[in-house]
Symmetry: C2
Subunit: 306 residues, 2 copies
């Protein structure tokens, strides 16, 4: 890390990472790739499966369908009632596995409690598992093989770091959170040999003692703990790069909805210490969908090569 690289003289606040703008840039690249694929007779197809009527899930799914269509892809959402059985869902997955027009299959989580998510994930053809949650894709990620799919949020974070010129090689990268969706694959990405990685990686979690001792040595601090504003300014090394994966809705009487979206980082405090920081919203969030489209395009490209 070139410490303080982003600090301008007389400016003590961190530079913001513009996730919205970067995601737009990537979606533009993807649209260009999609145009090439369509010229070869292949329209990348992303099918999202939504079971039940979880309100937040409906919003996410709508955003994914919209973004895929805007990129010129065939985006479809299959909505199933919450009473759908696991067998019915598995049958649908198998049908999508066999459908050559579908390059990406995403089963939106969480599923109703009578359906085992791991069983469903393992039924998805790994070659269409654009979420990157199938064990074989997780394994390829940890091994360092690039012929699988990396989960969207961690690969979005990595892309952000690369885009903003953050030196990752030899950097002290501390990840808070050990989920299968973010924390563990994030660590797996950053520890590999090669560009945009090669970091010394520490994974902290709920059992970590003296969390601040770890975060304070981080050149790059990636927070995916699911605890509103848990990372405060005193926990951050001056000049650090801080990536906030958290999305927490907290009460706020001053807003129309009575709630407000905040990250896992105390943004106002930490931005005074960090050199580069993601806002919430507008940071990591938009990147996740962009990487989902990127994975779907990659899947379609592989069908041409194969």
């Amino acid at each position: 890390m070139k410490r303080g690289r982003w600090i301008l003289p007389g400016d003590s606040a961190a530079r913001l990472i513009d996730g919205v703008g970067l995601a737009k840039l990537i979606r533009g690249e993807i649209a260009a790739d999609v145009a090439v694929l369509r010229g070869s007779g292949v329209t990348p197809g992303l099918t999202v499966v939504l079971v039940g009527d979880d309100a937040a899930s409906a919003v996410y799914v709508g955003a994914k369908e919209k973004a895929s269509r805007e990129a010129g892809m065939a985006g479809e959402t299959i909505r199933l009632p919450s009473a759908t059985t696991q067998a019915q869902l598995l049958a649908l997955v198998e049908q999508l596995n066999a459908d050559a027009s579908v390059h990406g299959i995403l089963v939106q989580m969480p599923l109703p409690s009578h359906i085992d998510p791991d069983t469903v994930i393992r039924h998805i053809d790994p070659a269409k598992d654009v979420d990157g949650f199938h064990p074989i894709n997780v394994g390829k990620l940890l091994i360092g093989h690039t012929d699988g799919f990396a989960p969207c949020t961690p690969s979005g974070v990595q892309r952000m770091l690369t885009h903003y010129g953050v030196e990752t090689r030899g950097a002290d990268c501390v990840v808070i959170g050990r989920s299968t969706i973010v924390g563990k694959p994030m660590a797996a990405l950053m520890v590999q040999a090669g560009a945009g990685a090669d970091a010394t990686v520490t994974i902290c979690h709920s059992r970590t003692r003296n969390l601040g001792d770890h975060t304070r040595r981080a050149d790059i601090l990636i927070v995916a703990a699911g605890r509103p504003r848990m990372v405060t300014a005193d926990m951050v090394k001056p000049g650090a790069v801080v990536i906030d994966v958290g999305m927490n809705r907290i009460p706020d009487a001053s807003t129309k909805s009575g709630t407000r979206l905040v990250g896992d980082v105390d943004f106002e405090g930490v931005r005074q210490v960090a050199s580069l920081i993601t806002p919430v919203p507008g940071g990591v969030g938009p990147m996740t969908i962009a990487m989902l489209l990127r994975n779907t395009v990659r899947s379609a490209q592989r069908t041409l090569v194969a």
Copy 2:
């Protein structure tokens, strides 16, 4: 970590971890499991495939066959000439995949340069991949699913820590090395929630800066760097548990062979600082074969349940 737990008054040297004794204990447990399986009409079968005439590989393979037979298992080694083609090796693997008497398949590495090891590993039925190198088993390991196989050396190290009563929960565990065989799966094991794990894990490697700053905060230091005696006493926190996965042959004029086996840890120096330490040889080495047998027995047990 209860620091200094293993230090006796007036005794400044670390207690030794007896890998030979522990491996013998585990092999005894395995022999009992094998007897039960044989009573049910199933003899666990481990088939090791050795391509070419690498001398070190021949020794390892012989030890694996011998240990499996001593545990009452059907241990077989298939020796192929170094001119074996990749297609021939893959055909053999497929034959072993289909053979119900074979519960574990191990293709000894390294393979001759005209054969791609990853292609071979991916051909092994994951349910018989007792080395735990197939991407689907690596993925299950990182996710935290226990229906795969964990690689033998890391799971042997974890078993050692558990056996010697080392508190891993919340411990600062630093792993040096990011290989797919040891470093990365070791970190994946230790970071999971649950007994024998739940550690805060850092992975260091050749790009790590200020390595000593990381190792000096480790409650548990696991070294798999492949560099003879690179970890010296000044790099170790007093009272730390030090696990040495290294096996390096260095010149030594005083021995008959003219060489000597040393680990990645400067044993004589570090034992004055650590509370618990593995010797080389006689530490991690014997555990690896024990865990290989354990995985093979587990594979056979699963065929009964399935």
